[in-house]
Amino acid sequence: MTDTVIQTEKLTKIFGSFTAVDAITFDVKKGEIFGFLGANGAGKTTAMRMLCGLSVPSGGEATVAGFSVKNQAEQIKHSIGYMSQKFSLYEDLTVYENIRFFAGIYGIERKTIRARSSEMLQRLGLGDQRNTLVGSLPLGWKQKLAFSVAIFHSPRIVFLDEPTGGVDPVTRRQFWDLIYEASDNGITVFVTTHYMDEAEYCNRISMMVDGAIKALDTPANLKSQFQANDMDEVFYRLARRAKRKSY
């Protein structure tokens, strides 16, 4: 199984007497768009933090890009990209300064950064905005730029935490075009969203309830399994059963 990029085996995180993530086991394949869904407080963020090498599991095991989350966290960080709606780019740096900063952190040479960034900005239609402060860009452009910066160092996997929150419907769709493009280029996409229509764009979806994965399949199979018309209904049926309220 050389093309499995994320593999977890009973991955668990316990805070005191609270089991935030309860023995989750799943695989994600190379180039797959994997939707990671669940209600607020279901344990998504904790699980994602472990997969990104930011939090040490209390039990179980996971490998990300072939590295163990237990003792190879630094190698994992080099192999992944991350973007969320809340943290993406520095508003008071220009477009190019942001690219140079983030690419520099990942150890990419100046010369390469220069060449690749011009090509990237052309493709995004941001060729003229190279020296514009990111803070003055419209939100939609910022999000598209943030995604491109997150995959600038050609990571094996990119983690997207609610990347399209609050974005207008046209830009939201353009953003998904970028996701498909990245996936076609072999980058694995691990994405959370509150938009249930976006869940349909994923190859497979996992649904977390009370720290455990309660369903995992393609959108079509999940809908037939739960005899639901759309993903919204699947989500509602599963999440409603949650016993844990995030008090």
């Binding site: 607020n40 407080g41 419907p169 509150h194 229509d197």
Partner: protein
């Protein structure tokens, strides 16, 4: 009776026009939704109506009071729940609520009936500091604090942003029961699927109101018949649709693409004849999101 009126309201920050000559009315007791993405101007409008900032041009009235001249009266009569959590993190649940009640010269007991249904859900945690509550609990407390002086108009700025689908439904149920108590509610949201839960909506983008009407009428005003299509390879299908002269618009909508044709059924026949792969097609009624995308293109 009109409870909220905006007449040509404009506001700029430096050279950026946040809202541009906005007009609309909200009737007494109405549940009115302001729907648009981040940066559309929703918060600016709410801050003008709650007298927290001044408009550059135009006039607006809330419950008959002018937002600039009568700002003190408005502040007594409206409730405002900002998008960002704005309660005192180091006061307990109960302390926050009694603080907001006392600011308005009232007590929790006096208006308990109004907040009861919501407050009972957080009452078991009344001694917990607000900063230690979960997102859903914070939201419920904020709503109680905005209601505790029995406002006549309630402004809710993106109450469901970042909230999961189940909690969102719960929140809308709460709004429905508040509406029954006769409170006029203005609520903003970036989620287009919440439009149908409002009696009337304004679609806002880049500081402009693109349309104001009931959700039903906005949908029935959509100019073209809409079809949902599906095939085995959805991204290839979308490229093919976008490359065809017969197709006027094609947008991904979950498991289907929604399309319109440029020349009615004739275009549709021609397109279907030229198809290389099998495609499922069915006639549907457009969603508010279809309308929003259409209006965005028309306004560009």
């Amino acid at each position: 009776m009109k409870h909220v009126t905006l007449e040509g309201i404009s506001k700029s920050y430096d050279s950026t026009k946040a809202v541009d000559e906005v007009h609309f009315n909200v009737e007494q007791g109405e549940l009115f939704g302001l729907i648009g993405p981040d940066g559309a101007g929703k918060t600016t409008l709410f801050r003008i109506l709650t007298t927290l900032i001044l408009p550059d041009a135009g006039r607006a009235f809330v419950n008959g009071h002018h937002v600039v001249k009568d700002y003190k009266k408005i502040r007594k009569e409206v409730g405002y729940m900002p998008g960002k959590f704005s309660l005192y993190q180091d006061l307990t649940v109960e302390e926050n609520l009694s603080f907001f009640a006392s600011i308005f010269n009232t007590t929790i007991r006096e208006n308990y009936e109004l907040v009861k249904d919501i407050y009972v859900q957080i009452e078991p945690f009344k001694d917990r500091r607000a900063g230690k509550l979960s997102g859903g609990m914070k939201q419920k407390l904020a709503l109680c604090c905005a209601l505790i002086h029995r406002p006549v108009v309630l402004f809710l700025d993106e109450p469901t942003t970042g909230v999961d689908a189940v909690s969102r439904r719960e929140f809308w149920e709460m709004l429905k029961s508040l509406k029954k108590q006769g409170i006029t509610i203005l609520v903003s949201t970036p989620y287009m699927d919440e439009a149908d839960l409002c009696e009337k909506i304004a679609l806002i983008q880049s500081g402009n109101i693109m349309t104001v009407d009931t959700p039903e009428r906005i949908v029935s005003d959509f100019p073209d018949p809409v079809y949902a299509v599906q095939s085995d390879n959805m991204s290839r299908l979308l490229r093919e649709l976008r490359g065809s002269d017969q197709v006027k618009s094609a947008n991904a909508f979950g498991e289907f693409h929604h399309i319109t044709f440029s020349g009615g059924t004739e275009s549709m026949d021609r397109f279907l004849k030229g198809l290389r792969e099998p495609m499922l097609i069915k006639s549907i009624s457009p969603t508010i999101e279809d309308c929003f995308i259409h209006l965005m293109a028309a306004h560009d």
